[in-house]
């Protein structure tokens, strides 16, 4: 038994309504010392449940229904609870997705590390303190002496996750289970944490089970990959094999659904339908209802493992049938002709012109809550957007991009200038603004919070039409509603149903239909796909692209996802701490970024492929608070090329070749 961890036929589920719904159904895999095994899957596929079941940490309703888990040569599912507790944290430790809630808010960091040291290594007092200090240093926390005495709320998100890792390391675990360790973090922080994990693993020869939904994270960190779908592992492969020749139709579809520059203007591959619910698992292969190459056999009989090459296995009747040597690639999609229309004409009139937009929130402090300062969420942003084009506003969380989007629609008080088709919006009284609201609408980030659960889909879509008096008569409205639903790809009977009956992707379609109902010219899209799985994201992106072609819509597309920017946007503006640091046509900016921040940001994005990983530009530290932005160039404390001048004055715009405007002292001002 050379494996550190060996899982055989693990079955686990959740108690609901008097019976156990199986969420993890016969999962088997192994992790060797020093190896990273990534468990990849979309939301609800059972990957987190697998991780929790391994340590027997499932919530109250969770049940382990069968299988074996061998950890360091011991079957731990059979251990008594007290013995299991000895293994937790020492043989295998775990870190979680949400560092903000996973630390106890009322205990100091030092105490929380000390608990583990005392429990597994019998360390107390000064010895424990020294060891905790060493651990904090090892996970790269600056000023560890001070941090030891601090509480979680005093740490930034990235630091909390580092502290979590320190806690996990305290018991000197041989296996580290990381459940989506970077999903809640920004890309630059994600890169730091992934590097840290890789370094620690190498130093300590730990085995690592990495749970993730992100192909990019897999490409950067994993040695071997297991793909989960609906509670089962459908394909396992070494990283190389996985990225060069994915075999299972689901895996191939996942890759095809990823947007990037290469697919600009083309239709993204999508997976029809949705992941089956736990209560209604199809017999046979679970992917069969959504599979383009499904055969009769797939619907009747669950496929067994097919060994392709050393370590590359797949559960698929179709792949097995093609062996040996047959074509194992899915037939290509009928490629949609790239639309020439959008890219061709550059000199269009501006639909939206934003000048020096500022949104400042007062900070009130002291005895009488006087205003002592301002959070400068948006601090002098200027943008231009033409009809039928897409401008992407990119940045990390807290940079003010969403605030800017809402201020454009006057959902927040702002100063500066916002002109829609030449008319200044910010000075208009609400009454005169109302007719203009027809021309600009918004699609929100969270499809579960953006639809009122008490209204029917029909009522939701109709709201704007009534408020802005779009369609005069009932019949007109009825007809308009039916047409809208059809154009976003929903059945007509959806009108009478309620939002909770729809999946995330369908809800986002409803939200788009609601915005389109008043026939706007400008659509502000606030991260419309960030809450969705990759395959569903592709559907929404396809829809947005088609609507732009058909209706000539202009999109102000707010996102942190560069892949989406590459696929959809014409122009891009990169925001940092309330200001735009670089903007220009998307090809130029992404291919040859000028600003050091843009370069770092781009290089931090993990690419879901082996070749073509960008050269890493490490970005130290984290984004400062917009309440107290640094003097001079906001970016200088994190910039490797910062000079004395950067510390003194904010750089003026500098126009580069190809129409890129950058604000950095490395480039001469205009």
């Amino acid at each position: 038994m050379s494996d550190l961890l060996s899982v055989r036929n693990l079955k686990a589920g959740f108690l609901a309504g008097g019976r156990v719904l199986t969420a993890v159904d016969g999962v088997s895999f192994a992790v060797a010392p020093g190896e990273t095994f990534a468990l990849l899957g979309e939301s609800g596929c059972g990957k987190s449940a697998t991780a929790l079941a391994l340590l027997r940490l499932l919530p109250n309703a969770g049940r382990i229904q069968g299988g074996e888990v061998w950890l360091e040569g011991e079957e731990i599912l059979a251990l008594p609870e007290a013995a299991m507790r000895d293994r937790r944290g020492s043989a295998a430790a775990m870190i979680f997705q949400e560092p903000a809630t996973s630390l106890n808010p009322v205990l100091t960091i030092g105490r929380q590390i000390g608990e583990s040291l005392e429990r597994h290594r019998g360390m107390k007092g000064e010895a424990a303190r020294r060891e905790a200090l060493a651990l904090l240093t090892a996970v790269g926390i600056a000023d560890p002496e001070r941090r030891l005495e601090e509480y979680p709320f005093q740490l930034s998100g990235g630091m909390k996750q580092r502290a979590m890792i320190a806690i996990a390391l305290a018991g000197e675990p041989r296996l580290l289970i990381a459940d989506e360790p970077t999903t809640a973090l920004d890309v630059t922080i994600q890169a730091q944490i992934l590097d840290l994990l890789a370094r620690l693993q190498a130093e300590r020869a730990m085995g690592m089970l990495l749970i993730t939904h992100d192909l990019g994270v897999v490409a950067r960190s994993a040695h071997r990959v297991g793909v989960m779908y609906a509670g089962e592992i459908v394909e396992t492969a070494p990283r190389q094999e996985f990225f060069t020749s994915p075999r299972h139709p689901y895996t191939q579809k996942l890759f095809a659904a990823l947007p990037d520059l290469g697919q600009r203007g083309a239709q993204l591959a999508t997976i029809p339908g949705q992941v089956p619910g736990l209560a209604a698992m199809p017999a046979g292969c679970r992917f069969a209802p959504r599979c383009p190459v499904a055969m009769d056999r797939c619907r009747l009989e669950s496929p067994g493992w097919t060994e392709l090459e050393a370590g590359h296995q797949v559960r698929c009747h179709w792949v097995a049938q093609q062996l040996p040597g047959g074509e194992q690639r899915l037939p290509d999609l009928p490629a949609a002709p790239p639309t020439a229309a959008a890219a061709a004409d550059a000199a269009r009139e501006n639909l939206l012109a934003v000048g020096e937009l500022k949104v400042h929130f007062p900070i009130r402090k002291g005895l009488f809550k006087r205003t002592v300062g301002h959070v400068k969420a948006v601090d002098g942003v200027s943008l231009e957007l033409q009809r039928g084009r897409t401008l992407a506003l990119v940045g990390e969380s807290g940079c003010g991009k969403t605030t800017a989007g809402k201020a454009v629609l006057r959902l927040l008080p702002a100063s500066g200038s916002v002109r829609l088709d030449g008319r200044e919006l910010l000075a208009l009284p609400e009454r005169e603004l109302k007719p203009l609201r027809r021309r600009m609408q918004m699609v929100f980030q969270d499809p579960f919070a953006s639809l009122n659960p008490r209204l029917t889909v029909g009522e939701i879509i109709e709201e704007g039409m009534t408020a802005l008096r779009v369609a005069a008569s009932r019949d007109e409205r009825r007809a308009a509603l039916a047409a809208l639903l059809e154009s976003v790809g929903l059945p007509a009977e959806a009108l009478g149903r309620y939002p909770h009956e729809f999946s995330g992707g369908q809800r986002q379609r409803i939200a788009i239909a609601r915005a389109l109902a008043v026939q706007p010219e400008l659509l502000v899209c606030d991260e419309p796909t960030s809450a969705l799985d990759v395959s569903v994201q592709a559907q929404i992106l396809n829809l947005l692209r088609r609507l732009q072609e058909e209706l000539g819509l202009a999109y102000l597309f707010i996102t942190h996802n560069f892949a989406v920017v590459e696929y959809l946007a014409h122009d891009v503006a990169v925001m940092y701490l309330g200001r735009i640091v670089e903007q220009g046509p998307v090809q130029q900016v992404l291919a040859a970024p000028c600003h050091p921040y843009t370069r770092a940001l781009l290089s931090a994005v993990p690419e879901p492929r082996l070749a073509g990983q960008r050269e890493m530009v490490r970005l130290p530290g984290e984004t400062p608070s917009p309440a107290r932005p640094p003097q001079g160039c906001h970016f200088h404390p994190r910039c490797a090329q910062a000079s004395e001048r950067c510390r003194q004055e904010y750089p003026a715009p500098s126009t580069q070749a190809g129409g890129v405007v950058v604000r950095c002292h490395l480039y001469p001002a205009d």
């Binding site: 940490l57 944290g89 775990m94 996973s102």
Partner: protein, 325 residues
């Protein structure tokens, strides 16, 4: 943090003024002093002279807000509002119907009230928190289920029955302690035993169930899973992690009543014949002694606001997020 507490203190001032105005409106505007005189003297045979005499004896013969006949400052001070309401702020409560000074009465009656209220409060908190911890520890077992059923049953029984039943069973049938009464000094314990025990038992149902809910809510949080993943035992998780966090919502409900303990309990004191502030209030209500009721309303509000400020202070002790902000 100091600014935060200071602001809370300052905020108490407009609230107290509001309470004062409200009680004034309730006692002097809804019914005129003439109405009260008529009511106190008996509606039937009442002469204008008798009413005037009644009002003069109690100082109700001045105008409500503005005395045009008086001179200088007295235009504002020789009014019912100033003498009866504004002076409450300086602790001048005036005299009761029987002529005794209310402030003195309150001072002497505070002792017995506290002698019951404090042990009931502390014991009750200990018992209910331990019970709730026990139920939460054995969550989703038969013990938990029947414990919750017992809690719901206990909170469905009126407080009156706890007292009546307790007195009957313990004092009358078992003859363990006297049924009611009170003496000063250390001998008071045998009179206090029963009311304290009944007070504790009567509070178990609702409090234990509520605390259990708080504990369970905390136990569902992510940091508890982290603590378990460290290999900590269930009792360490419970006491070091869950209890400490659960104290925050529990304190909200508990600390605020501490100052109000001075007021004693209306029911317990009247049933057990304990000469505290609770029975004082009840007697005043039954005798329709408006001056006493008015004073108690004001004192009660002052104590409640003191409780709110105490709550804020206790937050800063248990919650580092507030302490360091």
């Amino acid at each position: 943090m100091l600014a935060y507490l200071l602001r809370r203190l300052l905020y108490a001032i407009p609230i107290l003024i509001g309470v004062n105005l409200l009680t004034f409106a309730l006692f002097f505007v809804v019914n005129t002093p003439d109405d009260m005189a008529r009511m106190q003297l008996g509606v039937k045979r009442v002469t204008p002279e008798a009413i005037a005499k009644w009002k003069a004896e109690r100082g109700y013969d001045a105008p409500l807000f503005w005395n045009g006949e008086a001179a200088g400052l007295e235009k504002a001070t020789r009014t019912i509002f100033f003498t009866k309401s504004a002076r409450l702020f300086v602790g001048d409560f005036g005299a009761a119907e029987d002529g005794r000074d209310i402030a003195t009465e309150i001072r002497t009656r505070m002792g017995p009230s506290l002698a019951i209220a404090i042990p009931t409060f502390i014991l009750g908190l200990l018992v209910t928190v331990s019970l709730a911890l026990l139920l939460a520890f054995f969550r989703a077992t038969a013990l938990d289920f029947w414990g919750v059923v017992a809690c719901v049953a206990m909170m469905s029984i009126s407080g009156l029955f706890y007292i009546i039943g307790g007195q009957w069973l313990i004092s009358k049938v078992w003859r363990l302690v006297p049924i009611s009464g009170y003496v000063e000094g250390l001998d008071a314990w045998k009179f206090l035993l029963l009311p304290v025990a009944i007070g504790v038992v009567a509070g178990i149902g609702s409090s234990a169930r509520w605390y259990r809910t708080i504990f369970l809510e905390e136990m569902g949080k992510d940091y508890v899973r982290t603590a378990r993943a460290k290999g900590l035992s269930e009792s360490v998780v419970m006491f070091r992690h869950v209890l400490r966090n659960a104290m925050i919502p529990i304190l909200t409900g508990v600390v605020v009543v501490i100052p109000l303990l001075f007021m004693g309990s209306l029911l317990t004191e009247s049933f057990f014949g304990i000469p505290g502030l609770g029975s004082y209030t009840i007697d005043a209500i039954n005798a329709q002694d408006f001056a006493v009721v008015r004073s108690m309303v004001f004192i009660g509000s002052v104590l409640y606001i003191a409780g709110l400020i105490l709550t804020d202070i206790s937050y800063t002790l248990v919650d580092p997020r507030i302490r360091f902000d």
